[in-house]
Symmetry: D3
Subunit: 135 residues, 6 copies
């Protein structure tokens, strides 16, 4: 009996979209105000989906305490109240678009969770703009 379990979490961060190989005008043309040099920010909301077999002894796919602590330690503590471009190793050389942030979070969590689980991450940059990996 395979069930999906979802856990939501959030972090507040600053970022800007920027390709260092382009001129500022080219960045402005592609990224618009999102490339604004002094950064802007978001309340990022993440939804982590873990699919697995239900353990008949516990009735659970994964202990929610384990999952929520993993998200807190690996994602919230890493990114909350940070400038993604300046303060994190992950986005020093990677453009922090929603797509890339979502993939990075998925990669971090997937490597920490047992391989028997299928993991999907959805990242809300705003309530109207969000991404999901894998698609």
């Amino acid at each position: 009996m395979r069930v999906a379990i979802f856990r939501r979490a959030h972090f507040n961060a600053a970022h800007r979209l920027y390709n260092p190989d382009w001129t500022y005008d080219k960045n402005l043309e592609v990224f618009g105000i999102c490339t604004s040099p002094n950064f802007h920010g978001h309340n990022y909301e993440i939804e982590v989906k873990v699919v697995g077999e239900v353990d008949p002894l516990t009735g659970m796919v994964i202990n929610l305490k384990t999952l929520s602590e993993l998200i807190k330690t690996e994602i919230e503590d890493r990114f909350d109240h940070k400038n993604l471009n300046l303060d994190t190793d992950e986005f020093r050389d990677l453009n922090p678009t929603a797509e890339n942030i979502c993939f990075v979070i998925w990669k971090i969590l997937s490597e920490k969770l047992e391989s028997k689980y299928d993991v999907t991450v959805r990242l809300y940059e705003t309530p109207r703009n969000y991404v999901e990996y894998p698609a």
Copy 2:
């Protein structure tokens, strides 16, 4: 690296459910108060999901500005503050159920977006009733 990007938008419209080949009593039996002759209305909320490869130069599946403008021009401007049954070409001869509206929106957007993208549309008629195409 395939990622899904989601964009939400909304429009407010009037409609009624009605099959012109049926008597009013038959329409009432099937559609209930939704066939009320003088129309009722909804705040329709749409979620457009676009799946594609992330462009390594931009870090994006599709430019969100492009996508949100397309939704504005093709969907919001077409349906917002309209009577779907009387004011639109799409539903003059097609019953504007949530299922049909969702399919029509998907068709319009799919034809305008590059064929490399997979498009899914979710349409909320109310926060408790919604549909998605393709399923």
Copy 3:
């Protein structure tokens, strides 16, 4: 011990904004697309606030069952799946702006509730546009 109790309900209706003493151009200038002749519609959400003393025998300001049934009978049944301009006595000669709808709902409920209660009504036309009476 005076406490406020709130109850939410909703109805879906069509309407248009229109002043019959004005030309269509004047209506269009003032009301914009909201005066569109064939109507549009909304998922109206209402919040009814009732302030009163807590009855020490029940621990309640008012029985929520009484309140929710009153809202169902007097407001939802009256306005749900209706065209406010054409199908209701209340708005046949009164422009169904959010302000006027809110006042009408307040008046109906206030007259049905015991005079010991203070009643306030908030009406959401959309999640971003709403009104409250009395202010």
Copy 4:
């Protein structure tokens, strides 16, 4: 033309997580405060997804009235304002984790809906913790 239609509903119930084959200390270690002996509770929110062909006569996958009444009769009336562990046949011998509740709801609804429909149930225990079956 296959479309998914979604309907949300909710019920308020008490429960505790508990494996009768374990000591209390073992239950506490695995389930934490969720095993608290006198029960706690939730506003459970359910989302039922039904996938099927759109009937060209009605423009609908399934009549929403049929679906919402089925959910009311089979799920809400059965579980609302109940103690899942003590008051229900389904969870007298089955640990009422979100995973198990979701599966039970899916099983009840699937057996009542025509076999041409594909059914998925999502169960929100809180706005941040939820599950879905089948995954």
Copy 5:
């Protein structure tokens, strides 16, 4: 410059409505299924509003860290995953209606916060039913 600051928190608890001076039939007549003997439960959501002068050195009415820790220690730790009727001193002899729970929370927080602050508590029993004290 007086500003209101709001903080939201939540706890999950079981309860039943019950007046021990009444027969079960009288309790059932007044409280309906909320008096169900084996308890039911809710995701209680609380909104604490604190009004005070903005300190020009900090730009804050009250340090949000102080406020959120107070709510955690005094309210969440006290009521989360509890049976309000059986497990708490506050509701052993007080009917845990939303009105009474809201007043009790207000009383606990008001006594812990400096007297220069005006405190209001809103308690959501469900997203559609909530109360506020003082009114």
Copy 6:
């Protein structure tokens, strides 16, 4: 007949909390991670409440188009995708706490709206932390 009309809007910005008269350690002690040097950010959501008499010719307190364009021009265009500390005149020398941002927005809008209106601004820094001025 005095009615309150509400309009919501939003902007995404970076900020940090900081008192230049204090040492970094003192800033850290008071503001915690909110004083992080490279900024963090939020999806700020604002609710503007305008109270006034309903004009019997229009049925409106204020034309919502006027109000929403004023908010767009004066608030969204000014603060969206900005670093509040570095990019705005308002917060170059004023600590951008939620309290101060809320007051600044209220002041800008109050001066632009006719004096017959009473204006209140609520600012959500996150869905769980928000402020309102005047209180």
